[in-house]
């Protein structure tokens, strides 16, 4: 639970992002300031092209800001190199994508084990942790199935299991329900809510649907490369 006055888990200060150069240059972010408290469930909303994904990529250490500061646990990480950011992702972050992005022809279990492999866990520990994560998303019985044998909702739940198997601090989800019907979407939102509440994982989620954003505690509205407004608690969405 975030306490009032405590240090935010993540701070963006005056973050800008420019793509391309010269005439073709495009200013996707124009100075984003954002504080994210540990344990928050934040929905990111805004029109198409407003910079939501760009911000998420920076928060996910997949990309770096052109200017501005990015603080994680009070440490400046905006200028870290490729490998250092990869190690940060491995240790602290989990990703859920709109397109699920599971490895094809690979069982759910092996997909979930993948991050542990890079972490260097031995086979036993990998298996146990992966099964526990699949249990959390309610898919232990489907462990040996490959993505093509799973429904979209199930695939996304496997992807969530893969994201949480390393016990990350932050779960980043860019339109996680974008490819799902509303019933499956609600299942995913309930799952994210549960992970946020029971395991204290900070959840950052981009969505276009107010119905999904309603699950969040905080909602950030983007417009034109800037944070337009942040609403919290009952005022959200």
């Amino acid at each position: 639970m975030p306490e009032a006055g405590s240090e935010p888990l993540i701070r963006l200060i005056g973050v800008t992002k420019r793509f391309g150069s010269g005439d073709a240059a495009f200013q996707a972010l124009k100075g984003v300031d954002l504080d994210i408290m540990a344990g928050d469930f934040m929905a990111v909303m805004g029109p198409s092209g407003s910079g939501k994904s760009t911000t998420m990529n920076i928060l996910g250490c997949l990309d770096v800001p052109t200017t501005g500061s990015f603080l994680f646990r009070g440490h400046h990480i905006e200028s870290l190199g490729r490998d250092q950011r990869a190690l940060l992702r491995r240790r602290y972050l989990g990703f859920v994508f709109q397109g699920f992005n599971l490895l094809a022809r690979t069982s759910a279990l092996e997909n979930v084990e993948l991050p542990l492999l890079y972490r260097g866990d031995d086979k036993r520990a990998r298996r146990a942790a992966a099964l526990a994560a699949l249990d959390q998303v309610g898919l232990v019985d489907w462990a040996s199935h490959t993505p093509s044998e799973l429904s979209g909702g199930q695939q996304q739940r496997v992807a969530i299991a893969r994201a949480i198997v390393t016990h990350p601090d932050v779960l980043l989800a860019d339109e996680p329900t974008g490819n799902l019907d509303s019933e499956r979407s609600l299942e995913i939102m309930e799952l994210l809510t549960r992970l946020n509440r029971d395991r204290g994982i900070t959840v950052l989620m981009v969505t276009h649907e107010a119905e999904m954003a309603a699950f969040a505690r905080t909602v950030v509205h983007f417009r034109d490369g800037l944070v337009e407004r942040v609403t919290t608690g009952a005022l959200a969405a």
């Binding site: 990309d63 994680f72 190690l87 940060l88 490895l103 492999l117 890079y118 260097g120």
Partner: protein
């Protein structure tokens, strides 16, 4: 500060762990794309198979030549009238050798252990109802010494038989097999054309000669008998000289040539009207040719290995493109570039080593079969096999490097978005 509050940059990825992980990942990827993996390594399989089979058979052929040389025993020089093939011609026929030439060589040339004359004729050998066409070799007892040829049964020629040119003979094993199946020939009478002779002994088997001729398909008689009853003249068609291995055979050859030039009145600038063949030289030349041929064919086969390597690179590049999304996922969940690179590199190396291994196994069976079919000994050369295997691994490294680097350089955001 709790453990979870530790400063973010969590240090570096361990390298030893990395290799184990990437080998596992590579094996999984190969298993996932089994058919494509097999097709990928086909070039390597064929390349290694071809090179190793050819080199193995070549070594076998060289070995068989070497065995034949050593079976000849001491170094043997064969002196024939006339010039070496390709030269001369048109001139008068050079005179044959005389018995006195043999005596001179035996007495005056250092390093000579035995000297034997040879006069040859072909004849049909008949015993009971069977007949067999063979070569009658007229010579002396020294011939057996020069060639280090053992008597299997019976005895050698006596001096008296040689001097008188008696109609006695020693029989080679091929003739014996064909005319005396299951019989002891010694003491029997053999008809050679219209000449009858008494078999006084049989010769031990010598096997095929350097040119594939059958050394055992012969009947030996005292040279005077052959001259009188077969050739009808007193010509000696060849002199067989065995040289002491302690002497340089080139020196012995030179001394014989000098002596014969003197005896045959060949002065100063005139060319020899005789030729001396050195068994070892012939054998060396033969195995030299075998080696060169093996080298050339092996090199051609090695090109197919190279083509196999390019095949691997090609498929790996396709694989990198096709698996762009996969690479994006790996990078997003925290793989460092090095790990992605290593995974693809290991995949290439594992594939090519696998191909090399399959090629080696196929080559083993093929060269066993072919060696038997071509009648050359099978020589398993660990170095050839090891080199071919290591080379296939090297091909994996070389041709896997570029695609692997390309995979590792991908930007995770673009890779994830890749359709």
């Amino acid at each position: 500060m709790t453990e979870a509050d530790a400063p973010p940059p969590p240090g570096r990825a361990s390298t030893t762990r990395l290799v184990g992980t990437t080998v596992l990942l590579a094996l999984r990827a190969i298993r996932r794309h089994l058919l494509r993996s097999i097709l990928t390594v086909l070039g390597i399989v064929i390349g290694v198979f071809a090179v190793v089979t050819i080199v193995t058979l070549g070594k076998g052929a060289t070995e068989s030549t070497r065995q034949q040389i050593s079976s000849l025993g001491a170094n043997i020089l064969t002196v024939l009238p006339g010039q070496a093939a390709g030269r001369g011609g048109g001139g008068e026929t050079p005179p044959p050798f005389k018995f006195e030439d043999l005596d001179a060589i035996r007495d005056q040339v250092a390093g000579v252990t035995a000297v034997a004359p040879q006069a040859q004729s072909s004849a049909t050998a008949v015993h009971n109802a069977a007949n067999w066409s063979t070569t009658v070799n007229g010579t002396t007892d020294s011939y057996l010494d020069a060639q280090d040829w053992k008597i299997e049964d019976g005895r050698r020629f006596t001096d008296a038989e040689e001097q008188a040119g008696k109609s006695v003979c020693l029989m080679g094993s091929t003739v014996k097999q064909n005319l005396y199946p299951g019989e002891a020939p010694v003491g029997s009478t053999l008809r050679l054309g219209n000449v009858s002779c008494t078999v006084i002994g049989t010769l031990a088997t010598r096997g095929a000669g350097g040119f594939g001729q059958d050394n055992d398909d012969t009947v030996l008689m005292p040279i005077k008998a052959v001259q009188r009853r077969f050739t009808g003249n007193r010509d000696i068609r060849a002199i067989i000289v065995s040289a002491d291995p302690a002497y340089d055979s080139a020196d012995v050859q030179e001394s014989i040539a000098k002596l014969l030039r003197e005896r045959r009145n060949i002065s100063g600038g005139k060319l020899d009207d005789f030729t001396i063949f050195d068994s070892r030289q012939i054998a060396d030349t033969l195995s030299g040719i075998t080696n060169i041929l093996t080298g050339i064919v092996g090199a051609v086969a090695a090109i197919s290995l190279l083509v196999g390597g390019i095949g691997i690179m090609n498929i790996m590049l396709v694989s990198v493109t096709e698996r762009t999304r996969e690479i994006g996922i790996r990078l997003a969940i925290g793989a460092v570039a090095r790990e992605v690179m290593l995974q693809f590199l290991v995949e290439a190396v594992v594939l090519s080593c696998l191909g090399g291994l399959i090629g080696l196994v196929l080559a083993l069976f093929a060269s066993l079969g072919l060696a038997a079919a071509l009648n050359v000994p099978f020589v398993f050369d660990p170095w050839t096999n090891l080199t071919a295997f290591l080379f296939s691994g090297l091909i994996g490294v070389v041709f896997g490097y570029f695609p692997a680097r390309r995979a590792a350089a991908l930007n995770p955001i673009d890779a994830l978005r890749y359709e």
